[in-house]
Structure formats: structure tokens, C-alpha cells
Symmetry: C2
Subunit: 241 residues, 2 copies
DNA sequence: CGTGACTTTGAGGAATTTCAAACAATGTGG
DNA sequence: CCACATTGTTTGAAATTCCTCAAAGTCACG
């Protein structure tokens, strides 16, 4: 972990409004003004994590900060007393993370890849948001965006079998163009099978078998560390029947 | 469905801050001023649903409103193309509901019991929140509260077997004193077994068998429509091992 | 008192987990 | 640059949980 300088240009918040402000195609990121970005960047400490699996914070620790991912991939997870791990979300650039309850982090966060994080002290950020209603509205929009996504995941966990969960997950990942080549339909998964299993509420073995099943049925092809997707067929599995 | 007059006194928002504003015991509801309550009540239309199972809105319908439950119990659920239903949340008085995406409701909502709902037109509410940063902060706090709860449910669905899911659910319900007598440990469940099954991602039969299992193991006793809980034993099952 | 909605029980079958082990990829020190 | 250790992935077989189908029991209400 190391503090570095960074330009406000890459500060962004990934969220779409549920109720669009104006109609038409909805941008995947909030429209922040240059001034807002600069101010936010000034408030934050920028932290670079140089390796995979770096701890960003631990559940139960005093929670004085809000985190915004600038670059890389992060996992938020919760450990149960028996050692089981449930990954609650993978975070991509533009995502906020680090929910608290009673001033303690509810979950832990670790890098999946080397990452860069903006870290905001809560009191300073709150004060700033109170003074900037437009930005605070942006944070509200982001929270509702995350709520929608978490609810969607709840549907997946409640009603899909493992192969279908995996298909839904792969389609989600393919929404992040840094790791997906839409021309060749080639997905480079940044996380390993254990991560996927702990995210989808199952075991590594079941994930591996589901990959096998989807491959046998022609919905994807494993190619070393990469996966060639057949998006139409995957969607048919996820959304039909 | 009927529109009725109602006093702003019962308008409340159920949420605890993750990062308490001041230290000490955290109130279970946001501290709204009388003026804020009155203003909000003035903005809203009050709708009374006189029977169980009344549709409040349907997924896919144009989403012009935010809903705030004043009285009763409501379920938010999502229907899959094959007719399966996943209940995403039960709402209690003080809960906001009705998430949208692209101006359409993502989920449906129905009353579980006769209920009273404040309905806010989105443009008017947004304008009002923009002009009242303190209230908008309250809505942000509420959204993060709901996000925490949804994540907790994700842990339950991802890592708990059915009996443990049920135990966790019953403990959640016992947090609502309208339906729980803490002296006698007597819980009056407002929803039926189908609702519980569709919330916990399982079948009615499994719910029934889990009730049987928990009863046999002495964690609860079924008494007609009510359930006598042994909270300590239920917590031991949910939080240990 | 009958009817429909809700709940419980039983039995067989399917999906998934668990345990074990082999296999593949990756990185490190000699 | 290779040998070896480590991490990550896949496969097999047995055990378990849960689902599905079927049916009986229970409750509330007109």
C-alpha cells in the first residue's frame, strides 16, 4: 500500500439513474462537473495497492472512510464465524464501497487485481456533500444503483441453479470492457474459481463442473485463462424458461 | 384502494446510520423535524389498501412514484418468465420502496396486510430533496440501510441451509414489535408459508419441514397462527459455527 | 357445514456438497 | 533455466440436502 498523486480526471462514479433526469440513452457514469471532480479529489487520499489480495479494510474495524475505486478490481466479502466466506460484490472502477454499521465496517475488502483507491474521511465527505446537494444526489443515485444490483443478485441466488448463476455472472462481467473483447467475445476473468464460488454461494467444484456443462452445451469455450462467450446463448439460459 | 386524509405525525423513515452522527444509542428511525414531516406529507398522496394481497404496482409499469409505507406490511417481489417468484423484501412502516430502472418499476409490490402508503411523484420529491439537503441525506442514509439489509440477506441465501435461513428470518421479524410480544416471545407472522418460501429461495414444503425441525430441536413452538420463539437458541443457530 | 386456502407429511429423485486425488499453471531459489 | 513448491483447476464417487409430486390434515369463512 502506497499513497500516490493522481489526477482528478479518472475520478468517476459508476451508476445509472432509476428515473432518468432526461430521456434518451442513459450514461453508465454520473455526470460530474470538473469542479466537483477536482473538489472530491482534493478531499481524498489516493492509495495504490500493488499486488493481488491486498487487504483494504477488515470487517469489524473502525470505519472512518468511504472508498472509491479508481482502477483495478476489488471484492467485498463477509466472513462467518465458521470460516465460510460470502463475497457480496466485485467492485469495478467508479464503484463506492465500505458500508458501515455503528462505525464499524460490516464487510472486508481486498484487491482482486492491483488497484488504486480514493479514500474519503467520512466527516469531511459528509460535510462536503451537505454543501453540494447535486453531488449528494449523485451519491443517492449510486446507492440505489447498488441496491438494484444487490437485489438482482438475490434473485439469482434464490431461483437459479449453479450453471445459470454462472451464466448470469459471466454476462455481468462482460459488461466491463477492460476485461471483455466484444469483437472476439473473449472474457478475461480477473478473479479465480474460489472467488466465483464464494460470490455465487457454492463450491469451487460446482463452479468447475458448471463451466464444463456450459462448454459441453456450447454456451462458452474455455481457453486457458480466458473464456469465449456465446452471449446470445448465455442470455437465453439466463432469461428464458 | 382509496385515498384518505392522514396526519403527518405517522410519517417516519426507518433507518439507522452506518456512521452515527453522534455517538450513543442509535434511534431506529431518522430524526425528521416537524416541518420536514409536514412538508413531505403535503407532497404525498395517501393511499389506503383495505385488503391483503392488493397490488400497489407491477414490475415493468411506468415508475413515476416513490412509496413510503405508513402502516401495514408490504412485499416487493420479482417474477421470472417461468412464473417463479422471488420476494426481495418485506416492508414495514417507515420503509421506502419502488426501485426503478429506465423509468420502469423493477419489481412488483403487494400488501401482505391492509396497509397505508404515502405516494410521492418523483419529480416533485426530487425537487424537494434538492432544496432540503438534510432530508436528502436522510434518504441516502435510508438507501444505505436497505443496502446493508439486502447484503445481509445475500449472506443468508449464499451460506445458510433452509432451517438456518428460517431462524434468521424469524429473528428479523421479531424486531418489529407490532407483531412480536417480547415478554411471551410470541411472534404473529403477517405472511404465509408461501411468502416465506419465496423470500428464502425455497419451497413451502421445505419451510414447513424446517419449522418442524426447529420445533423438534426446541428452538420454537408453533401455536396456531403464532410462533413462540426461543431467541437465544435461534441466535445460537444463526450466528454460531 | 362445506369450500377453498393454507399447512403438513411422505416418498422418490435430482442437484449439490464433500472428500479425495489428479492435473495444470505459476513462480522461486538454486 | 530447471526442479520443485505452491496455487489454482478439474474430475470422480459417495453422501446429503432439497425439490417435486402426491395426498392428507387444518383452518377460516360464507
Amino acid at each position: 500500500m502506497r499513497r500516490i498523486a493522481r489526477s482528478p480526471a479518472d475520478l468517476k462514479i459508476r451508476a445509472v439513474r432509476g428515473w432518468p433526469a432526461r430521456h434518451g440513452a442513459e450514461a453508465p457514469h454520473l455526470a460530474l462537473t470538473a469542479a466537483e471532480r477536482a473538489e472530491l479529489a482534493r478531499l481524498a487520499e489516493v492509495i495504490e495497492y500493488r499486488s493481488r489480495g491486498s487487504q483494504i479494510f477488515l470487517q469489524g474495524a473502525p470505519a472512518g472512510f468511504i472508498h472509491l475505486l479508481a482502477e483495478g478490481v476489488v471484492r467485498s466479502y463477509h466472513m462467518l464465524p465458521n470460516g465460510e466466506r460470502q463475497i457480496l460484490a466485485f467492485h469495478w472502477p467508479g464503484d463506492l464501497f465500505g458500508l458501515a454499521e455503528n462505525d464499524r465496517f460490516v464487510n472486508s475488502a481486498e484487491t482482486v487485481l492491483p488497484s488504486v483507491v480514493y479514500r474519503f474521511a467520512v466527516p469531511r465527505l459528509s460535510a462536503f456533500l451537505r454543501a453540494n446537494p447535486a453531488l449528494q444526489e449523485g451519491f443517492l443515485v449510486k446507492a440505489m444503483h447498488d441496491l438494484r444490483n444487490t437485489q438482482r443478485q438475490l434473485i439469482v441466488m434464490g431461483r437459479f441453479d449453479i450453471a445459470r448463476r454462472l451464466a448470469a455472472f459471466l454476462l455481468d462481467c462482460s459488461g466491463h470492457e477492460t476485461y471483455y473483447n466484444p469483437g472476439k467475445h473473449l472474457l478475461t476473468l480477473p478473479m479465480n474459481r474460489y472467488d466465483i464460488a464464494d460470490y455465487l454461494g457454492t463450491s469451487v467444484e460446482s463452479i468447475s463442473r458448471s463451466f464444463g456443462r456450459l462448454e459441453k452445451d456450447g454456451l462458452l469455450r474455455r481457453q486457458g485463462a480466458e473464456v469465449e462467450l456465446k452471449p446470445a446463448k448465455l442470455k437465453a439460459l439466463v432469461y428464458r424458461t
